[in-house]
């Protein structure tokens, strides 16, 4: 039986973690559509255990939810046996250039360059960078989500940024 309290608790959990979980899934899959599907599946599982999850401390909640998300990514690729999706899927979200202004074309090319550079990062660095940028998560939050020390997160983030700065020829 679904109660109003369950729904309110679930909505609060969804609002709190959706951005970070989505960023994590985007970083792991490099596929926006897959990330949305897996986000929905992750929170469907949260819904089924909402009483249990709501009783956990905030960091434990985050760890629980991200463990579900991580397992779903593993299951998906095990099932599909397709390996890691390419960042080409992201290109679908970039608007057509037909009627673009010069500025828009330049912006589009820059975004494509950033996308390619991020796609070339090792999995862990790409995931951490995506969680920090797209998910706007702190290193402590990322650490709790991924089960690693905050110092390691900061170090990997630093390495990812240095690599991107070199590739994009900008200062970082």
């Amino acid at each position: 039986m679904v109660t109003t309290d369950d729904r309110a608790t679930f909505t609060a959990l969804f609002d709190e973690h959706r951005g970070g979980v989505h960023a994590f899934l985007l970083g792991r899959t490099s596929d926006p559509e897959a990330a949305r599907d897996l986000l929905q599946e992750t929170f469907l599982r949260v819904w089924r255990r909402v009483d249990e999850v709501a009783g956990l401390a905030p960091d434990r909640q985050r760890a629980w939810i991200f463990t579900v998300a991580r397992n779903l990514v593993i299951d998906r690729y095990r099932t599909e046996a397709t390996g890691r999706a390419t960042m080409a899927a992201v290109a679908d979200q970039v608007p057509d250039v037909t009627d673009d202004t010069v500025a828009q074309v330049v912006a589009r090319d820059q975004l494509a360059a950033v996308r390619d550079a991020i796609g070339s990062l090792p999995d862990e660095q790409r995931t951490i960078l995506t969680m920090a940028t797209v998910g706007e998560m702190t290193s402590r939050q990322i650490a709790a989500a991924l089960g690693m020390p905050p110092g390691t997160v900061r170090y990997e983030l630093h390495r990812a940024r240095r690599c991107l700065a070199d590739r994009l020829e900008v200062t970082g």
Binding site: M1, V2, R7, F10, T11, F14, R18, G19, H22, A23, L26, P32, R36, L39, Q40, F43, L44, W47, R48, V90, Q93, V94, A107, Q110, L111, V114, R115, I118, L129, T130, A132, T133, V134, E136, T138, S139, R154, R161, L164, A165, L168, V170, T171, G172
Partner: protein
């Protein structure tokens, strides 16, 4: 990280390009709402599907509240009609038959 490193107003060029990229990747409110509604709808449909049905159901899925009185009335009417059609030879009487 003690500040938002991807603020569009950031002076760091890398932060600026990452901020622009990140903005194209985030879930917008409409998409978030759609996903939330899909989860809640899916969960509630699953919960409704697992409920056991009780008793005979009408096509609309529930038994009318007056089903017992309706049935009793129909049975009583049928008995009265049958008695009227059968004639006096088989009429059920009490007490007077022995006296006759």
């Amino acid at each position: 990280m003690t500040h938002d490193p991807f603020d569009p107003s950031a002076s760091d060029p890398l932060d600026q390009v990452l901020g622009a990229w990140a903005a194209t990747q985030r879930l917008d409110e409409a998409e978030s709402s759609r996903i939330l509604a899909a989860i809640v709808g899916q969960a509630e449909a699953a919960a409704a599907g697992s409920r056991p049905s009780v008793g005979p159901l009408t096509p609309t899925g529930s038994l009318p509240a007056t089903w017992w009185s309706d049935l009793s009335l129909q049975v009583a009417s049928a008995v009265v009609l049958a008695a009227r059609r059968s004639g006096p030879g088989i009429a059920i009487t009490t007490g007077t038959r022995a006296a006759a």
